[in-house]
């Protein structure tokens, strides 16, 4: 396998709230290799965004973060501000759901790309930076890039703004691009365009992409490997084909079954609702909604282990596969 660029180990994030500590991330392990497209999927509150905000050092001071985040062989948790500043937008950058709030409304988009370039390459001349900015706009598929560089964000449509945000994020050739729900605010036809841009960046520059989404269709389209998160934990990991073909964790299985399929008369929802992380359930986070729960599931928080070609956090994975095979 190709070189490991981002390695997260036993990441824990706790927020102090007036109602007590809230454990948003509870021991996440995650590896991202050079040039791969890794999908992170989970529902709201599963900790998927917080994991990567912590990795970027973007959480507020109140958040207690522990564990390890190794980027390109360097520890990022507890690193100095200088190291973090160099990392953000240099080695690793992040794009968000809402491209309008990610851009500064009073600066021309070209200047916003130049700002990013010069923040990391002080020696670059203004002229070169401006030229590079136009090149970047062209790479992300903005027509008439040299004219558009002089326009303001409000003159762009939603899809075009997201392209500008991607141009800023890839300005310094990062090793890892974290895309947090990059297409959720966009229409499906525009979503298809943006996914195409992200894939193009990944393939032509060898940038590893972490695609955070709740949309399993998007994962199926672009991801190489998938991480399923629930209640602040990884519950399942694996190659995209294996994971969709024979998911081992009851949550993943439930998630796939709850989607409308052709010819299915009645959908199969997962009963109950996600846990309140102020009072996480004992043991496996999914236990209260799982139809296969036993006493052993409630005893302790299961960690990931290898199971056929996947990694699963379900202690009953073997039995359940046999059961599913028989029924």
């Amino acid at each position: 396998m190709s070189e490991l660029v981002l390695s997260i180990r036993d990441l824990r994030v706790t927020f102090d709230t007036p109602l007590g500590p809230l454990e948003a991330v509870r021991g996440v392990d995650l590896d991202v290799h050079a040039g791969e497209m890794m999908g992170v999927v989970g529902e709201s509150g599963s900790g998927k965004s917080v994991t990567f905000l912590a990795a970027m050092g973007l959480l507020p001071h109140q958040a207690k973060v522990s564990g390890s985040v190794m980027l390109n062989g360097q520890e990022m948790l507890g690193a100095s501000n200088k190291v973090l500043r160099n990392m953000r937008g240099g080695l690793m950058s992040m794009i968000f759901q809402d491209p309008l709030s990610a851009l500064n409304p009073v600066h021309r988009v070209g200047d916003q790309i130049v700002e990013m370039l010069k923040a990391h390459q002080q020696k670059m001349s203004d002229k070169d930076a401006a030229k590079r900015a136009v090149e970047l706009l062209d790479i992300v598929g903005i027509p008439q890039a040299s004219e558009r560089a002089h326009q303001y964000p409000h003159e762009f449509s939603g899809g075009m703004r997201q392209r500008v945000v991607i141009a800023i994020a890839i300005a310094n050739n990062p090793k890892v691009l974290i895309a947090d729900e990059p297409t959720t605010a966009l229409d499906v036809t525009v979503q298809a365009q943006i996914l195409e841009v992200i894939e193009r960046v990944q393939k032509s520059f060898g940038t590893a992409v972490v695609l955070i989404t709740h949309d399993l269709g998007v994962i199926a389209r672009v991801a190489d490997r998938v991480n399923v998160m629930y209640a602040g934990c990884n519950v399942e990991k694996g190659g995209v084909e294996s994971l969709f073909d024979h998911p081992s964790h009851p949550y993943t299985r439930g998630l796939l079954a709850s989607l409308p399929h052709e010819g299915v008369e009645r959908l199969t929802p997962i009963t109950g609702f996600p846990p309140n992380m102020l009072m996480p359930p004992p043991g496996c986070g999914f236990a209260p909604r799982c139809s296969h729960v036993t006493d052993a599931c409630l005893a302790s928080l299961p960690s990931l282990r290898t199971f056929s070609d996947l990694e699963t956090a379900c202690i009953r994975a073997e039995e359940l596969v046999v059961k599913a095979g028989l029924s």
Binding site: E43, S44, S157, G158, G159, M160, D187, V188, T189, V190, Q191, A192, Q193, E196, H214, D215, L216, G217, V218, I219, A220, R221, V240, E241, F244, D245, G254, L255, L256, S258, L259, P260, E262, V264, R266, L267, T268, P269, I270, T271, F273, P274
Partner: protein, 323 residues
């Protein structure tokens, strides 16, 4: 012939934009819905799909007379809405209800959910024991009767949406407009609410106008589907014909843009990539409104507007060069 429950003919809804640009005052008109016609039969579900700015939500609000229509007619149970007296309209409103997208914004945080659900009964002056009715409505939507005393913040998103549905059901409506009712919910929760819509329709026999951008949910729930683009219906017909034999290029592109949650099929199928974004409804393209993004467009598409025509597979579509 059976009369449809809801008949919309040549519906037009324009919004005026007043922009003060410098000294001159300019008046611009957003053509949110232009010349839309469709009907919904009793007990049927019409799905309206389209991207943002297609006018699907505006159509829903026009049906309920929440917006004054610019022109066209909307008839419900054979009665033309608009021009009715306040009292007549109030009687008709009992039979038409709406469920909104955002289950957080559509409930009053200071009212118990019981009083929210009972509010339509109070407003319409329905006699009888409201508490009992509320309890039975809560049970109907899969909540418990004692939930009536709680406040909205005590519920999850999916449960709140069920409260919104219970409120819409309070007056035994014949038609419910569902405006993106599951888009704000997580997938595992969404499935339960979608099932609930199906169950309620089977039990109570009302009609739905189901407005959504999620084509897979519409495919699951609708009998007929209307595809809207920039204020117009570009294709309308039975679900089967629309999804299996789309004839309008936009419908084809839309269906191909929706990712299928199966890596093998998703990666092997051919895809139509549309260029650009939806144009502004202030200044829509001449002729066919889709022509600026269509790969089949010719001069004919710019000069003459295609009309909805019946296709061999049964649906109507508005295209000079159908598939």
């Amino acid at each position: 012939m059976n009369q449809p429950l809801l008949q919309v003919e040549n519906l037009v809804k324009n919004f005026e934009l007043r922009a003060n640009s410098g000294i001159r005052k300019t008046k611009r008109i957003v053509q949110a819905v232009s010349d839309v016609s469709f009907s919904v039969d009793k007990g049927q579900t019409l799905g309206i799909v389209g991207e943002s700015g297609s006018g699907k939500t505006t159509v829903g609000r026009c049906i309920l007379q929440l917006l004054d229509i610019t022109s066209g007619t909307i008839s419900f149970e054979g009665k033309t809405l608009g021009g009715l007296s306040f009292e007549e309209m109030r009687q008709i409103r009992r039979k038409m209800q709406i469920v909104f997208q955002d289950p957080f914004a559509s409930l009053d945080p200071k009212m118990t959910v019981g009083s929210s659900i009972a509010e339509p009964l109070v407003v319409q002056g329905v006699a009888g024991n409201h508490e009992e009715k509320v309890a039975s409505l809560l049970e109907l939507v899969g909540l418990a009767a004692d939930h009536a005393k709680r406040f909205p913040h005590e519920f999850s998103g999916g449960q709140r949406q069920r409260v919104g549905i219970a409120r819409a059901l309070a007056l035994d409506p014949a038609l419910i407009v569902l405006d993106e009712p599951v888009s704000a919910l997580d997938v595992s929760i969404q499935a339960g609410v979608v099932n609930l819509f199906g169950d309620l329709q089977k039990r109570l026999g009302m009609s739905y106008v189901f407005i959504a951008h999620d084509l897979s949910v519409v495919r699951h729930i609708a009998d007929r589907v209307a595809v809207m683009y920039l204020g117009k219906i570009v294709e309308i017909g039975d679900k089967k014909s629309i999804y299996e034999h789309p004839t309008h290029p936009y419908t084809k592109a839309l269906l191909s843009a929706v990712p299928i949650p199966n890596p093998t099929t998703e990666r092997s199928r051919s895809r139509i990539m549309l260029e650009g974004d939806v144009p502004s409804p202030v200044n829509p393209p001449s002729g066919c409104r889709f022509r600026t993004r269509c790969w089949k467009a010719t001069e004919l598409c710019a000069s003459s507007e295609p009309q909805l025509v019946v296709r061999p597979t049964g649906q109507l579509s508005a295209c000079h060069f159908p598939e």
